[in-house]
Symmetry: C2
Subunit: 439 residues, 2 copies
C-alpha cells in the first residue's frame, strides 16, 4: 500500500466490491468532466513536434543557387547516377550506423520503403539464388511482441504468416527464436527494433545480439530485419544504451550474410524528406543491387548532399540529437510522472522508462487495453489502437498500449495523460469488479 497526495492507496485487486463500485462511480464523474472539455489530442503516432522540425530548418539554407552541387568524387549531384549514393553520404550514415560506408546503400526518403522493397525482392526474385518466396507453399516471419505495427502490416500484405515471439527486457526471447528458426525452414525472417525498441523503448542486451549473430536457421535465406530506427535517438547525455553492432558481430560469428540493417534520418531531420539506408554484407548488397539497377537510376543525391552539408559529420548529428532530446525528454518525464502519480500503487499497470526512442509502453491488466483506448477516444484522446503492437492487430492479452509522447505540447500531453490515467483506472476497476463478481 502506498500514499498518494496524502491518501492511502490500495491495490485495486484488494478492494472490496463496495470499494470498487464507489471508485468507479467517483472516476466516472471525473471522466465526464474531462469529456465535457471537448478535447482533441493525439498520442497515436511517433511524430516529431514542430519544435523538433524547426531544429532542421538550417538544412533549407545549406544549398543555394550559388552552391556547387558536385560531390566529393566530382559527380554533379543534379544529374543521373550514383546508384548506391554519394560517398560522403555513405560515410556520414556509415558513422551513424557504425558500419563501413562500403556496406551501405543510400536509398530515398523512407526506410519503411527499403524494408518493403526487401520483402518484395525476396518474394518475386528470392534471396541470393534461393527460391523466390512466391513459389513456396508457406513463408513465415517471427514477430517479437510488442512490436511495430507497420512491420506487421507489410508482412501481412505479402501473405506471410506471422508468429509472435515474446519480448523480454533483454529483447526477444532467444530460446524461442533459436528453436523456431532451427526447426522450420519456412521461417525467413524476424523483425527487430533493437535499440529503444518500438514500443517498449528498451534495447537488446549484449547476450541477445550475440545470440542473434549465432542463429543457425534452417532456411538459407533467413535474414534478420534489423530496423535500427532509433540508433542515435537518446534522451539523456549521460545515460545511454549501447548496442553491439550486428553486422560486425555476424561477421565475427561466421554468419556475415545473416542481417539486413535499416536506418534513416526521418526522426533526425524531416520525416518524409530525410535519407534512408541499408547496411548489409557484400553478398547481400550484390543481391540488392541486382534489383536496384532495374528499379532506379539513383536516389535523390541533392538531398544526400543537403544532409551532409548540414551535419558535416557524425558529431554534427550527435549535437543535433542532443537538441531533439532537450525538447522531448520533458515529455517522456511528464508521462512517467503522471503515470507514477495517478497509477502508482494501484497495481493496475506497468510502464517502461526508456532512455531513448519515441515510445513508452504501458501494460494494463489483461483484458483492459481495448477498453482503455476506447474510453480515451471518447474523451477526445487518440492513442495507438490497442492490439496494434501485435501481428494481425490481436494482442492476446489485450494489455499493450503504446504511448507516443513527442508530438503534443507539454500542456496537451498533460491533459491527454490525465484522461488516459482516468481511463486506465475505470477500465481496471471494472475489470477487478467483474472478476470479484465472478463474471
Amino acid at each position: 500500500m502506498l500514499h498518494r497526495k496524502g491518501i492511502l492507496m490500495k491495490l485495486y485487486a484488494e478492494m472490496t466490491v463496495e470499494e470498487l463500485t464507489q471508485e468507479i462511480s467517483k472516476l466516472k464523474k471525473e471522466y465526464k468532466i474531462m469529456q465535457a472539455k471537448g478535447m482533441n489530442l493525439d498520442m497515436s503516432r511517433g511524430k516529431p513536434c514542430q519544435d523538433q522540425l524547426d531544429l532542421s530548418m538550417g538544412m533549407m539554407d545549406v544549398l543555394s543557387s550559388s552552391s556547387d552541387l558536385h560531390c566529393e568524387e566530382g559527380m554533379d549531384c543534379r544529374n543521373y547516377g550514383a546508384l548506391t549514393g554519394i560517398k560522403e553520404a555513405r560515410e556520414l550514415l556509415g558513422d551513424m550506423m557504425e558500419n563501413n560506408p562500403k556496406d551501405i546503400i543510400i536509398y530515398g526518403n523512407s526506410s519503411l520503403n527499403v524494408m518493403f522493397d526487401t520483402l518484395g525482392r525476396s518474394w518475386a526474385h528470392g534471396v541470393m539464388g534461393n527460391t523466390p518466396w512466391c513459389r513456396l507453399p508457406k513463408v513465415k516471419f517471427l514477430c517479437p511482441v510488442p512490436g511495430y505495427d507497420r512491420h506487421f502490416a507489410m508482412t501481412e500484405y505479402f501473405g506471410i504468416e506471422m508468429i509472435p515471439v515474446p519480448m523480454t527486457p533483454d529483447g526477444p526471447d532467444m530460446d524461442i527464436v533459436e528453436k523456431l528458426v532451427a526447426e522450420d525452414d519456412a521461417i525467413k525472417g524476424i523483425w527487430c527494433v533493437p535499440k529503444y525498441s518500438n514500443p517498449m523503448g528498451t534495447s537488446y542486451s549484449d547476450a541477445t545480439v550475440r545470440r542473434f549473430a549465432r542463429l543457425k536457421p534452417a532456411a538459407p535465406d533467413f535474414r534478420i530485419y534489423w530496423d535500427n530506427a532509433y540508433g542515435v535517438h537518446h534522451l539523456y547525455d549521460d545515460h545511454q544504451d549501447y548496442l553491439i553492432e550486428i553486422l560486425a558481430e555476424c561477421k565475427r560469428a561466421g554468419n556475415p550474410d545473416l542481417v539486413y540493417k535499416f536506418s534513416s534520418t526521418s526522426k533526425i531531420t524531416f520525416p518524409g524528406s530525410g535519407i534512408a539506408a541499408l547496411a548489409t554484407s557484400p553478398n547481400n548488397m550484390t543481391d540488392c543491387l541486382a534489383q536496384l539497377r532495374f528499379q532506379t537510376i539513383g536516389h535523390d543525391k541533392v538531398n544526400q548532399l543537403r544532409h551532409v552539408r548540414f551535419f558535416k559529420n557524425i558529431h554534427g548529428i550527435v549535437e543535433h540529437m542532443r537538441k531533439h532530446a532537450d525538447i522531448i525528454r520533458p515529455k517522456f518525464e511528464l508521462v512517467e510522472n503522471i503515470l507514477d502519480e495517478d497509477l502508482g500503487g494501484l497495481g493496475i499497470g506497468t510502464w517502461t522508462k526508456p532512455l531513448g526512442g519515441y515510445f513508452i509502453l504501458f501494460d494494463s491488466l489483461p483484458g483492459c487495453a481495448k477498453d482503455i483506448v476506447d474510453r480515451a477516444k471518447k474523451a477526445g484522446v487518440t492513442m495507438t489502437p490497442a492490439g496494434a503492437t501485435w501481428p494481425y492487430g490481436k494482442d492476446l492479452n489485450d494489455s499493450n498500449i503504446r504511448i507516443a509522447p513527442t508530438f503534443p505540447s507539454l500542456d496537451e500531453l498533460e491533459k491527454a495523460m490525465r484522461v488516459f490515467t482516468i481511463c486506465v483506472r475505470i477500465a481496471s476497476a471494472k475489470r477487478c469488479l467483474a472478476l470479484k463478481e465472478g463474471q
Copy 2:
C-alpha cells in the same frame, strides 16, 4: 544521286567493288586520324547537360530557413503524411499531365521506380483482384520496337516474356497490338512512350491513341504502361506534337481502367531530384494505394513544395521548358545537319527529325548497327549499345542506333558525330562490298 560539297554522291549500293574498296580505304585513313585524337565522348544516355541543370538552380533558393513549409491545405510538409502528395503538387502535375489532380499520386524521385513498383505489385498481389502474376504459368508484355531499354530490362528481370511489336511513324502497329491482346490473355501490358518517343522522337497519331483506348484485351488485368516522359519537352515553340490525352480517351471509350500513365520532372528540373507521378483511374488508384499505404508513410513533400514554389504553375513549366529547348535545339539541329551533310545521298541510313524529346533514331543498313557502334567506341565515342532498343538487347535487323545529343557540348557533339558518320560509312561500305562479293 546528290551533290555534297560539290562532289557527286553515289549510292553505296550502286558502287562497284572497286569504288567501294577505294571508299573504304579512304575512310579508314580518316578514321585513323580521328582515332589518334584520343577522344572520350558520350552520346549514350539521355542526360541533360550542365547548362540545362543550371536552369533549375533557382529551385535551391525557393525554400529557406525562414520559409513556411506548410502546404495550402495546412499540413506541415516537414512531417509524416500525405500519401498521395500535397494538393498543389497534384495540381501542378495535373496541369502538366493533362489529368485531374484527383487522379494523380505524387511519388518519389523517379518514374522508373513507379513503373517497377507497378510491375512488382502486379507480380506479387495482382491487378484489381486478378490472380497475382507470380501464380501464372506465363506472363507476356508487348514491347514496341525500337523502345526504351530500361522498360525492357525491368520486364526481363521479372521473367516476363517480351514480344516485339514494330513501330510505325504513327506509333506501334495497332493491327498487331489489337490482334495479340485480343487473343492471348497471358499478355498483361504494353510499354509506350507516346510523345517524342524514346528513341524515335516521334509521337503517336490520334488514330493510334484512339485505338489504344478501344483495345479489347483478353486479360482483364491488361494495362497500357503509358510512359509520357517527354510530354512538355518540345524543341520548337511553333511546331509541336499534340497527343490525345489517354486517360480521358479511355474513359470516353468505356475503358477507364485500361491505363497507367507515368511522368516526372526528371528532365525538367534535376534528374534524380525531381518528383514523379502516376495518373490513373479511381479503381486503379485504389489498387495502387492498397500497396502504397504499406510501402511508405509518404513521399518527399518538401521537394514537392520546392517544385511548386519554383514553377508556381504550368505556365512556369512551359517557360522553363522553352529555356531547355533553346539549349538543346541547336544540338539536335547539329546532329541532323551533320547526318545530312555526311550521309545524305549515300543510301546507307535514315534518321528521325523529332520535334521534342531526347533522342534521334538512326537506322543503318541491316546488319551494320553493332559494327558502327563498335567502331565509334574504338575511336572514343560511346553510343547507346546497338540492340539496346530491343527486348533482350537483340535488334533483329541490327540497324537501330539511338543518338542522345543533349549531354555533350556543341563542340564535342560535332566531333562525336563526325566520328559516327565515318563509322557508318565504313560499316556500310564494307557491308555493301560483302554483298557484292557474295559473301
